[in-house]
């Protein structure tokens, strides 16, 4: 035991260091995300959420009803019945996806030759009736797609029907089109990977 260490011990240096550390933690920002009534987590682009169907630039559904996704799905949750539409193209007459069975593996997205089905960012879809979770073609076309830039916390509010909606800067730009832009962060200094800035030691 050296003298300097003992002298510091009588002057409470170890206690002082402990108290200084907790003071620094006291003055730094809390890491809590106040979900769902004030903040919402924006998922990364690679996040595997609920599957959605895409439309091409002529606002026509991309899916050609080849049934590759239905055959590769390990949970057998997709039902596709193709038909010939008025323009002579092959399209799906029935496209049903059972969310109760889907395990979000992404194999349907990998195998699709038209890039028509992909896994998006839809997160909050709890319902009271489990039959509401079998989605048809129209519902799948309206689901939100992948986020352009994720990994941040944005201000949000809780709407009726258990929907946590992010507050974007211009309110018309809601979750209307797919591949959405939630990148503007108006949250208090919370950009991408904001937790890396919290001081630790």
């Amino acid at each position: 035991m050296n003298i300097k260490h003992l002298f510091g011990w009588t002057l409470f240096t170890d206690i002082k260091d402990g108290l200084r550390l907790t003071l620094r933690y006291m003055l730094s920002k809390g890491v809590t995300m106040q979900y769902p009534d004030k903040e919402k987590w924006v998922t990364y682009p690679r996040h595997r959420g609920h599957p959605y169907l895409r439309k091409d630039s002529q606002d026509e559904i991309k899916c050609v009803g080849c049934e590759l996704c239905a055959n590769i799905c390990p949970s057998e949750c997709i039902t596709v019945i193709p038909y010939e539409d008025s323009k002579g193209k092959r399209r799906p007459k029935v496209f049903e996806l059972d969310s109760r069975r889907c395990m979000y593996c992404g194999l349907c997205e990998d195998v699709c030759p038209e890039e028509a089905i992909a896994l998006g960012s839809h997160l909050e879809y709890s319902t009271y009736d489990s039959n509401d979770m079998v989605l048809n073609k129209e519902q799948l076309l309206n689901l939100p797609g992948k986020n352009e830039q994720g990994g941040m916390v944005v201000p949000a509010e809780l709407k009726p029907g258990a929907q946590v909606v992010a507050k974007t800067q211009d309110s018309e730009q809601q979750d209307k089109h797919q591949d959405q832009q939630l990148g503007q962060t108006q949250g208090p200094q919370q950009g991408k990977d904001w937790w890396q800035d919290i001081r630790r030691h």
Binding site: L19, M26, T32
Partner: protein
Amino acid sequence: MEFLVVFLVMLAKVIFLTLILFILPIPLTWMERKVAGHIQQRLGPMRTGWHGLLQPVADGIKLMTKEDIIPDQADRLLFKLAPLLSLAPPFAVFVAIPFGEPITIFGTQVNLYLSDMNVGLLYILGVGGLEIYGVIFGGWASNNKYALLGSFRTCAQLISYAVPMGFAVIGVIMLAESMNLSQIVIAQENVWNVVLQPIGFIVFFIAGLAEAQRIPFDLAEAEGDLVAGYHTEYSGMRFALFMTSEYVVMLTISVLCVLLFFGGWNGIWLPLPPVVWFMLKVFLFVYLIMWIRFTFPRYRYDQLMTIGWKVLLPLSLLNILITGLFFT
């Protein structure tokens, strides 16, 4: 007629003080949870009211509506008596405490104390020793051998830390040449006692933390380790009374530290009223106690007793020796 006026003023002061001491633990619980949250890098209560300000109200409603369970073979009278016995002595201590210089209300001069005893400090130390009875009664009346053992340990802790607490204030009494608390504060007008008696302050503060059973000395309640020591079997409002008494004792320790060592209501370079200075200093001490709570782990029981007898008592005697040799 004169007697009636004096009596009414005294009654008003008693009622006012009792109300404040009952209501003050409520915002203190909120402050404790917020300080705990921010030290642990989280936010604390945020939803009940603005930033959780209605959380104590929710806690109060919960405690009042809980079922009142009395164990089967427990001693019913002692079981019901123990929380009250634990609550009364901290309130009785506040009888001798002055809160500031006399102020004038409606033309009459009102002293800010309930009783200006010449042996005020001795009274406080004596009545403070009565807090042990609530612990003993609670542990015995629970009909639970672990609660009984918990109450033994708590009782031993309280008794063994009351000794250095008493010795630490002897230095203060020597400097002020009086046990009257108002005199002690007046004697600190030029220099606070903490400058002249640092060892005395440290011994008193640590012994006070142990008397209030706060971390790092809260082995008896040890929320998370043991079940809860002597107040295991208590639920609902009886438990709330035990917790209230713990907060009032913590307030007592803060008030005593401020009065005896930090100049009471004497202020530095800000011309605030003395009562405001007093409350500010007490608030800082309460904050310091809460800060210490969430920084340090708790002591094991043998370490606790070692500190009480083998470290604090010799230090307090050393303090008396140094004060006697150099300062008087």
